[in-house]
């Protein structure tokens, strides 16, 4: 806690006393032991601080070098905001623009899905090739299957047999299905992609490569098993 003596000592040492006040202070110091000690303590403190301050080195070359290197490696970010590019009005409405864009995208998706029944409609007359399973890279080291290897059965149109009734003229061929099966209204018949001409198949993937499709389950066990079978 500051006392009167503290104030006097600080004023004296700060040089804020008039000559008359200073003379009175000198007399007081001569007769007051406590004030004398206080003055001496303050002189010691100030002298110590000053010497200590001078002793602190001013050499900050290392800090300076590091800082300057970092400055050189840190370019300023260009302050090219929306105002600078003339799109400030758009910047202010970016929330609305985002909302409108999102609505348009969602609505467009809904319209597309409802119009095609959930799947993209085939373009009439197009001769898009069917999806062909590419051989898995892991199947490449295996030898090609022989001609006697059983081919994967491909869906084919059933030939009319004697037991099956021949379609009447003017009626569409009936796909084999149970008579009791009545399709659910929500269940829509799968749209089959139009069959490409035989030349397209011939030019794309030969049927002999079909077993490679099996190898797509490329677990080690499957590979070993297939390899063993082929050796036999």
């Amino acid at each position: 806690m500051m006392t009167e003596h503290d104030g006097l000592v600080e004023r004296y040492l700060d040089g804020r006393m008039s000559p008359g006040e200073a003379a009175a202070f000198h007399h007081r110091v001569a007769s007051d032991e406590r004030l004398r000690r206080m003055l001496r303590a303050e002189q010691i403190i100030r002298g110590t601080v000053e010497r200590d301050r001078r002793a602190i080195p001013h050499d900050h070359a290392r800090t300076r070098t590091r800082a300057l290197a970092l400055v050189a490696a840190t370019p300023a970010v260009p302050q090219a905001g929306p105002a600078a590019t003339g799109w400030a009005w758009l910047h202010g409405m970016k929330g609305i623009v985002a909302a409108v864009a999102g609505t348009v995208i969602v609505a467009g998706s809904l319209v597309t899905l409802s119009g095609t029944g959930g799947e993209p409609a085939p373009v009439p007359g197009s001769s898009a090739p069917p999806a062909v399973a590419m051989p898995h890279p892991a199947a490449q080291p295996f030898p090609e299957p022989s001609a006697t290897a059983p081919a994967v059965p491909t869906p084919a149109t059933p030939e009319p047999s004697a037991s099956s009734p021949a379609p009447r003229a003017g009626t569409a061929p009936v796909t084999p299905q149970r008579a009791s099966h009545r399709p659910h209204p929500a269940e829509k018949p799968a749209v089959r992609a139009p069959e490409p001409p035989p030349e397209a198949f011939a030019s794309e993937t030969p049927r002999e490569e079909a077993p490679q499709v099996i190898i797509r389950n490329d677990t080690l066990r499957t590979r070993v098993r297939i390899e063993t079978l082929q050796r036999r």
């Binding site: 040492l13 700060d14 040089g15 002298g47 010497r51 200590d52 800082a67 300023a76 302050q79």
Partner: protein, 220 residues
């Protein structure tokens, strides 16, 4: 103790005060320099560094106590300032901004050391510049007393006596009124004085230093 002989000489603070005040003067355009630096002017950084680095280093040194740590903390402070280039923000009073960073770094450092902020647990040699046997016993006493002050008091004393900032500048830096800062500094000085007086009067200074030296030897 012969050192306690009273001498009523010319106040030493007059010379000191006159020399300190101009150090802090003339930095009114700090904000402009800072803005130039943030805009990409590397020369502005050099200007900012030369103006403030030493005093901020002294601030860290007197609060943390170790020259190497103080240098690291000052370095880290500048790194944070430099990184501001990537996310520029408005800085109205750069010195207050710099001091705030340095202060937080010092406090974090002290916390990491799990140490009381009064630094009383530090070995005395850690917060003094190495000057051999030049220091008298009384100077040792002053340093010990300064180190035992509470953080807030010591901070104000360091900023004023060591860094050379005026009380109004300190008030702006630490976000207090000038009166509050002046009061804090006066109380800090009074407390420091009381400690030194007690040691002078009772002759404990020599005993205390001897005890301290003994404990340090035992720690080693």
């Amino acid at each position: 103790m012969n050192d306690c002989t009273l001498t009523l000489t010319t106040p030493i603070l007059l010379e000191q005060r006159e020399r300190i005040v101009p150090i802090a003067a003339g930095h009114g355009d700090d904000a402009a320099v800072m803005n130039r630096f943030l805009a990409g002017d590397d020369a502005a950084f050099v200007e900012l560094f030369d103006r403030h680095n030493h005093r901020l280093y002294v601030y860290c040194l007197k609060l943390v106590g170790e020259p190497a740590q103080a240098e690291d903390l000052t370095q880290e402070m500048w790194e944070r300032v430099i990184r501001m280039r990537l996310k520029p923000q408005e800085v109205r009073t750069p010195i207050a901004f710099l001091l705030r960073i340095a202060r937080n770094l010092c406090l974090n450092h002290l916390k990491r050391r799990r140490q009381n902020v009064s630094l009383s647990a530090l070995p005395e040699s850690a917060y003094l510049p190495d000057r051999g046997d030049e220091r008298s016993e009384l100077e040792e006493v002053v340093h010990q007393a300064l180190a035992e002050l509470p953080f807030d008091y010591r901070e104000v004393l360091v900023l004023n006596a060591y860094c050379g900032y005026r009380y109004d500048e300190i008030a702006e830096m630490i976000g207090k009124s000038s009166t509050a800062v002046w009061m804090r500094a006066s109380r800090a000085r009074a407390r420091l004085r009381a400690t030194v007086m007690e040691m002078i009067g009772s002759g404990h200074a020599t005993d205390r230093l001897r005890d301290n030296d003994q404990s340090m030897k035992e720690q080693r």
